[in-house]
């Protein structure tokens, strides 16, 4: 038994090993729930001041699910502590938040809505508001068959919507599927990406988001106590500046970079990573190639956002 299983996995590797997988062109989700989630996602009713919706910090149409701000501005213009991650392709991440403190999408919804810097609501307030809202009463009745809206349903609908936010058919995915060729520069960029070891952390569908890794392996990266790193959870010295690996999908569109949004350009971000984890900045031509490769990761706008 054991031998057979091991053999099977070895055979699996024989026909070609590729550390990055294309985003599936379609994902299964409950359309009704997702549409309801979409409505909620864009509705400021979920925030205390009725001004802040999820989409306030995760602009799906223009900013690839981010807000292009270093740190988000939430309730009463309070500034958050961290850079807003994109909500695109989150379904492929193994955990959520910079330090992976949240297990899944549904649980994630509880965070920002109750956070004082973000939407500053309580679960009860949300339920009370929605249960007074004729449209939502009707919609939830249709979708969940419930007479009373609960927060769990709200989280479920939003999570279902976020599940649908995938950006397939990027140039790179098409290349992986053998549909097109990349340019010489882009190919060389991808090879450099592997040769320089970036791939050892940025792998999988999302080129990241599937393990915790350290920034500042070779050169020490400055550490601050309020960094949203693994140390906040484990309190192990080793986990200082260990983050869930950022996702590189649509990376040219999700600026500014790093957990504090302190890095404005992609070039700068690549060089910082090279400096801290390799010891040297990259020469101009190598940088250009890597940037060219990274730009092939821009996918299509999610299907659920189209046609509107």
């Amino acid at each position: 038994m054991r031998i057979i299983i091991v053999l099977l996995f070895l055979i699996n590797t024989v026909y070609g090993y590729e550390p990055v997988q294309p985003i599936p062109q379609k994902i299964e989700y409950d359309r009704e729930k997702a549409e309801l989630g979409k409505l909620l996602f864009h509705d400021p009713i979920l925030s205390k001041d009725n001004r802040t919706s999820c989409s306030f910090c995760h602009d799906l149409y223009n900013k690839c699910g981010t807000d292009h701000r270093p740190v988000s501005i939430g309730f009463h213009n309070r500034r958050g502590k961290v850079n807003a991650s994109t909500v695109f392709n989150v379904i492929f991440n193994f955990k959520l938040f910079w330090n992976g403190s949240v297990e899944d999408l549904k649980k994630q919804v509880y965070g920002p809505i109750q956070s004082p810097e973000e939407m500053n609501m309580t679960i009860e307030e949300v339920e009370e508001r929605l249960n007074k809202h004729p449209l939502y009463i009707r919609k939830f009745k249709e979708v969940y068959g419930a007479n009373r809206i609960t927060f769990d349903m709200v989280a479920d609908a939003i999570a279902e919507f976020e599940k649908a936010l995938i950006t397939p058919n990027s140039k790179f995915d098409k290349y992986l599927r053998g549909e097109i060729e990349l340019s010489q520069e882009e190919i060389e960029g991808y090879k450099l990406f592997k040769r320089l070891g970036c791939i050892s952390c940025h792998n999988g569908i999302n080129l990241g988001g599937n393990s915790f890794q350290k920034v500042g392996v070779i050169k020490e990266y400055p550490w601050k106590p309020d960094n949203p790193d693994r140390y906040q959870i484990t309190k192990k010295e080793f986990d200082k500046n260990v983050y869930r690996v950022p996702v590189l999908r649509n990376i040219d569109c999700t600026y500014p970079y790093f957990h504090d949004g302190s890095v404005k350009t992609l070039e700068e971000a690549v060089q910082i990573m090279a400096y801290y984890n390799l010891g040297f900045k990259l020469p101009e031509d190598e940088l250009n190639k890597i940037i060219a490769f990274l730009k092939t990761l821009r996918g299509e706008i999610p299907e659920i956002l189209r046609g509107e």
């Binding site: 091991v6 590729e18 592997k194 999988g204 599937n210 070779i218 390799l278």
Partner: protein
């Protein structure tokens, strides 16, 4: 009935129970196998994780998605198991094991995450170190051979270390790192390179031992698989225990099912037994219903059933003559024994004749014999049967005042035969006809017109009814002359009825029929009433006819008493003409009646004296005022010496007894002359006066 409902209820509940049990078993098997599959899935998942960890450690870079997906699957399976089937009370052991396993697995996941971090760290440096080393040659104008050699050795050590996973090479690495650390370069770029290079080596030196340890832990020391195997064994053991419940339930419900089935069978058997008993009872009843109790022969009811089976039946109806007299003479017990003997005699007769016949007792002394066809032999059979019966000496034992006596008896029978249905009715008709005609037997045929006679009787009965209701009962009066004075002495009242068409009917036609009906009493009363009305205002005497039936009818008798008492003036003038006949059974009643009306001053005449049945002793006892000599004698009087002797004897003894005589039927002068010469006191007849409605001498008012 109650039991039946209980059985039905039981059957329904057992059926429902079996269905539920079936579902339960199915679900049990399904859930158990699903649970086992999940446990096996976890085991497979463990292998999958391990093989992928191995791969990720082997390859320079790896897709970590594969690992976290496998982890998620196991987590999902654990959750399913914990919240699912393992939650029931039989799987407490398994639940504990899965909880234990979850803890272990979470630890393993933690180790995997740490491993991934270290793996990437080490791989990152491992990939980079060779190209980094090349920088040295670019930067150093005069490369230090020893530095290069050490650098080379260090690079190869990292590869050996990484690919062999042999910790002993760490010392070699550390030794060379220490050698390299002694180097200082004046060129700041070279110095920077040197420091970066050392940093990468440090990544190896510092992290590899932990990395190695994590890998060992994940692959070999976590003990997860052992736990999973234990879980599998425990679960199977528990499931065997659990299945005992299912088996127990199965045995119980099958047992219950069989019990209900058995009970049902018992009820059915009992039902069948009851049915048989009922059937027997019914048969018995039926036999009784169609059997005559006294003779044991099939009865009248049986006859009506059996007669339908015959296509060309011959039916013989046998009736004992004067059976009533036999009963009166010897008692009904005797009669009963005679009937039994006659029944078996008839039966034996036909057996001896070798004739397949059925013998029935149809009524009191009516026996019926039924057989198929043989009509050409009917006369022979019937005559032989009658002869045999009448020649047979019936010996009947009886007890008389404590003494056993034997009576020997011959009986006479009459027979009616019919071939046509309705057999009994037609045979009965001819039998009555036979009795009237005093013959022995007769075969029914439509020529006999018996039906017409019956029809006529019915018509006459209708006329009687009509006459009574419409005051059409009339009286005719015939004068009776005193032979000495030659004047009318009195009138005889004669009854007539008038039908719907105005025809006048004589009593000859309607009285016999009226006697059999309820109208007879009414007619008598009407006659008495009308006669009294007619003669109330006269001085004339008159006579009214009374039959023996009238005199024994209490109602009529009392009526007569009351009118006589009420009107003594009329009572003095009335004479009741009574008929001596053999049908008088109780002379005492008659005597009493006669005595009573005599006391009320009415007179008595004996009618039709000298014809047939005449008993002198009775006449003496009745002490009549008149004797009316029968017309059949009077009309022969002038021409028959023998009759003259009889009549003179009657006249002679009447005179001696002080009874006056009346001659009826005086229809010519010869007779009249003879009557007068013989000393008869009164005369009556067509020669002297016909009956008519006209009457009579008005009251003589002085």
């Amino acid at each position: 009935m109650k039991k039946l409902y209980i059985v039905i209820l039981l059957a329904v509940s057992v059926t429902i129970g079996l269905i539920i049990f079936n579902q339960f078993t199915k679900q049990f098997v399904e859930v158990s196998s699903q649970t086992l599959d999940k446990i096996k899935d976890i085991e497979k998942g463990e292998y999958k994780i391990e093989s992928n960890i191995l791969k990720s450690s082997f390859y320079l870079y790896f897709n970590y998605d594969v690992i976290y997906k496998a982890i998620e699957e196991i987590k999902k399976d654990i959750k399913t198991l914990k919240e699912g089937h393992l939650g029931n009370k039989f799987h407490k052991g398994s639940l504990k094991l899965i909880q234990e396993y979850e803890k272990l697995f979470n630890k393993k996941v933690e180790a995997i995450e740490e491993f991934e971090t270290l793996n990437s760290l080490i791989k990152n440096s491992q990939i980079y170190i060779p190209s980094l080393a090349l920088r040295y040659f670019k930067l150093a104008q005069k490369p230090d051979i020893e530095y290069i050699i050490t650098m080379n050795r260090v690079i190869s050590t990292t590869f050996i270390l990484k690919n062999s996973q042999d910790k002993s090479f760490i010392d070699d690495l550390q030794k060379d790192i220490n050698i390299l650390k002694k180097y200082r370069f004046k060129n700041p770029e070279l110095q920077n390179f040197h420091e970066v290079f050392l940093s990468h080596l440090d990544v190896f030196a510092k992290n590899f031992p932990i990395y190695h340890q994590k890998l060992q832990f994940i692959l070999e020391e976590s003990g997860n698989r052992k736990l999973i195997n234990k879980l599998k064994d425990t679960f199977l053991k528990e499931t065997r225990e659990e299945s005992k419940i299912v088996t127990g339930f199965s045995v119980a419900s099958t047992g219950l099912f069989l019990t209900v089935l058995g009970y049902l069978a018992y009820l059915l058997v009992r039902l069948e037994m009851n049915n048989r008993m009922l059937k027997k009872l019914q048969e018995n009843l039926e036999t009784k219903m169609v059997t005559d109790e006294l003779t044991g022969l099939p009865n009248r009811r049986a006859f009506f059933i059996k007669e339908q089976d015959y296509k060309e039946p011959t039916f013989i109806l046998v009736n004992i003559d004067n059976f009533k007299h036999i009963n009166d003479l010897y008692g009904s017990n005797f009669g009963d024994i005679l009937l039994v003997q006659l029944g078996s005699f008839i039966k034996q007769f036909f057996e001896k004749e070798n004739l397949k016949a059925e013998v029935f007792r149809l009524g009191a002394d009516d026996f019926g014999v039924l057989y198929e066809n043989l009509r050409d032999k009917t006369v022979y059979i019937v005559e032989k049967l009658i002869r045999s019966i009448e020649e047979h000496l019936f010996v009947i034992k009886g007890i008389d005042r404590g003494r056993e006596i034997e009576i020997e008896l011959n009986i006479d029978v009459s027979v009616g035969v019919s071939y046509e249905k309705p057999l009994l009715e037609k045979a009965d008709m001819v039998l009555k006809y036979v009795k009237k005609r005093r013959e022995k037997y007769m075969i029914y045929s439509s020529d006999l017109n018996l039906a017409k006679i019956i029809e006529d009787n019915l018509r006459i009965l209708g006329v009687i009814k009509y006459a009574i209701n419409n005051n059409k009962v009339k009286l005719y009066y015939q004068p009776i002359f005193d032979n000495k004075t030659k004047k009318i002495s009195k009138y005889e009242c004669l009854v007539r009825i008038i039908d719907q068409n105005g025809n006048i009917l004589s009593p000859l036609f309607f009285l016999p029929i009226a006697k059999e009906s309820k109208y007879y009493g009414t007619i008598t009363k009407t006659v008495i009433q009308k006669a009294f009305d007619r003669f109330r205002n006269t001085d004339a005497e008159f006579s009214i006819n009374l039959s023996s039936e009238d005199m024994t009818d209490k109602e009529i008798v009392n009526y007569i008493y009351s009118v006589l008492e009420k009107e003594p003036d009329i009572a003095r003038r009335v004479t009741f003409e009574i008929l001596e006949s053999e049908s008088i059974k109780n002379y005492e009643t008659i005597y009493t009646f006669v005595k009573n009306i005599k006391n009320l001053k009415a007179k008595i005449a004996i009618d039709d004296f000298g014809s047939g049945y005449s008993n002198y002793s009775h006449i003496v006892n009745l002490e009549p005022d008149y004797i009316k000599i029968d017309g059949s004698l009077i009309k022969q009087l002038p021409y028959d010496l023998y009759v003259q002797i009889i009549v003179s004897t009657i006249v002679d003894f009447s005179k001696k007894l002080g009874i006056r005589t009346v001659a009826e039927y005086v229809y010519n002068e010869d007779v009249y002359m003879m009557v007068k010469s013989m000393g008869i006191d009164y005369s009556q007849g067509y020669f002297l006066g016909k009956p008519s409605e006209k009457c009579c001498i008005k009251k003589n008012i002085n």
